[in-house]
Symmetry: C2
Subunit: 326 residues, 2 copies
Amino acid sequence: MAGESKGSLMTVREDVRVLDATLRDGGLVNNFYFTDDFVRALYAMNVAAGVDYMEFGYKASKDLFDPEKFGKWKFSDDDDIRAIVGENETGLKISVMADVGRTDFHRDILPRSESPIDLIRVATYINTLPAAIEMIEDAKKKGYETSVNVMAVSKTGTDDLAKGIELLAQSSVDTIYLVDSFGAFYPEQIVRLTELYLSIAEKYGKNVGIHAHNNQQLAFANTIESLRLGASFVDGTVCGMGRGAGNCYLESLLSFLKNPKYNLVPVMRFIEKHMVPLKQKETWGFDLPYLLTGILNSHPSSAIEFIRDGRIDYTQFYQEILDDIG
Amino acid sequence: MAGESKGSLMTVREDVRVLDATLRDGGLVNNFYFTDDFVRALYAMNVAAGVDYMEFGYKASKDLFDPEKFGKWKFSDDDDIRAIVGENETGLKISVMADVGRTDFHRDILPRSESPIDLIRVATYINTLPAAIEMIEDAKKKGYETSVNVMAVSKTGTDDLAKGIELLAQSSVDTIYLVDSFGAFYPEQIVRLTELYLSIAEKYGKNVGIHAHNNQQLAFANTIESLRLGASFVDGTVCGMGRGAGNCYLESLLSFLKNPKYNLVPVMRFIEKHMVPLKQKETWGFDLPYLLTGILNSHPSSAIEFIRDGRIDYTQFYQEILDDIG
């Protein structure tokens, strides 16, 4: 009932790929204002740790978002990436995220032969799949690997979800991500969803990925549960940095995976030097208000505001979320 | 392979019992120096929240531990409990923990008819089971419910463990707890262990409990995984308060359980009023050093010291733990 395991705790699954989303998900904490020094060190860390992909940020439209109001990784210009990685002659691949409706992909996503980027990750809601598929096909034609994140599936009925995943699986996309946007899923729900995604994706020779949030302190547990069942792309961020309750901790993931190509030591050094100071300035991570939005399957924005305002009247806040979703 | 579920996410399992171990596990953070005001409010919270058991602390021997050096809940005198709960005319039951070799149980555990305590929880290592059984039988004879925590099982071979659980199941004990002392287990290991405990306990009509630690941020996930398979006694602490990385969050547990007798609101009020100030004075909860002792299946004391000393040289610390266990 709770699914057969693919692989075991003692062995290596060669199909697994780890993606570090610290800049992209963490950028939602600090409006993408990372120093170049930080980004260079993170890149070096990922290379040394054997991480498979590093996500630099979003490819957001400069028509929609004012470059004066965000750090550069909101836009992830190819030239800015190149200033960090040069020609990236390493085993680490580079990804960016492209939101449906917020990316000038015709203009801003160049042919892969001219770009340091390897993987375009399209992020979509279930009701914008045709636009997502258009972006996927555009990226594929330009020579990229592609993946797609279907967001907010905890608000989507299973029938619609299955139809949507089928549509995506029929596109050129390489990897379909199960995303727990609100940190609302328990492991047994992740089991069922992973099995649904895999049953469709495998028919078309596609991979399944997992991207979890930590509202209920289940990001790591849900990630390894999905992995156990056969998901092969797993996302983490250093110290779980990400909006609100944050993400699956990259250091937990690397310590879990038995592939000797992964190395935790560079990650520890990076945390020591770069994350400890950053944590003194920025706030993220599990806290009661995120648990409340998680269990109510609600967007974390209200909890982020609650914490930013220094409030501790949790009981009142709980009533406010109930009113919002009622 | 990963086990059949007992019950579902939508329904109530009437056999489930929640135990709040805030004073006992949290007492390991502050040497049991809780104010009476805090303890009274916690008791009122547990009654209002519908929690089944509240653990007041240890019944430690005053010959072995100097009462001048610890708060009173290290010893949990019946009179001190009675000063908080009176005759405890509520649905909440009261427990204390009695460590093998550290409890003068003949002297300090009175007949139940003279005591406000309902449940004696014996804590033992696998190599002190005869002494644990002696304490269990003593408590049973005095009229108490009994449970037993077998600690540090992540250091015990499965054959010895199975034999030990069988011995305990043949005693008068009511509930046998699976304890992840070092926060070292992944959910799939918890599945196998819970199935082992259940397969033996059920032969003798005993319950299985789960007591998890949060070194890898898996305390809640492991608790609900064990629960899913049929464990019925689940331990939590408010805000996960407990030694080192702490425990399963009581608020997560109550929000997960669907039994309408549980109520999260009193817990939120308690956190607002009592835990927010306490968190400013005391330190516990998930952090990288605990992840490292967890993945290396090592006692958290070195990590507690590392954090107390304000160190952040994680790489060096990692080498130190490796040396210790090597």
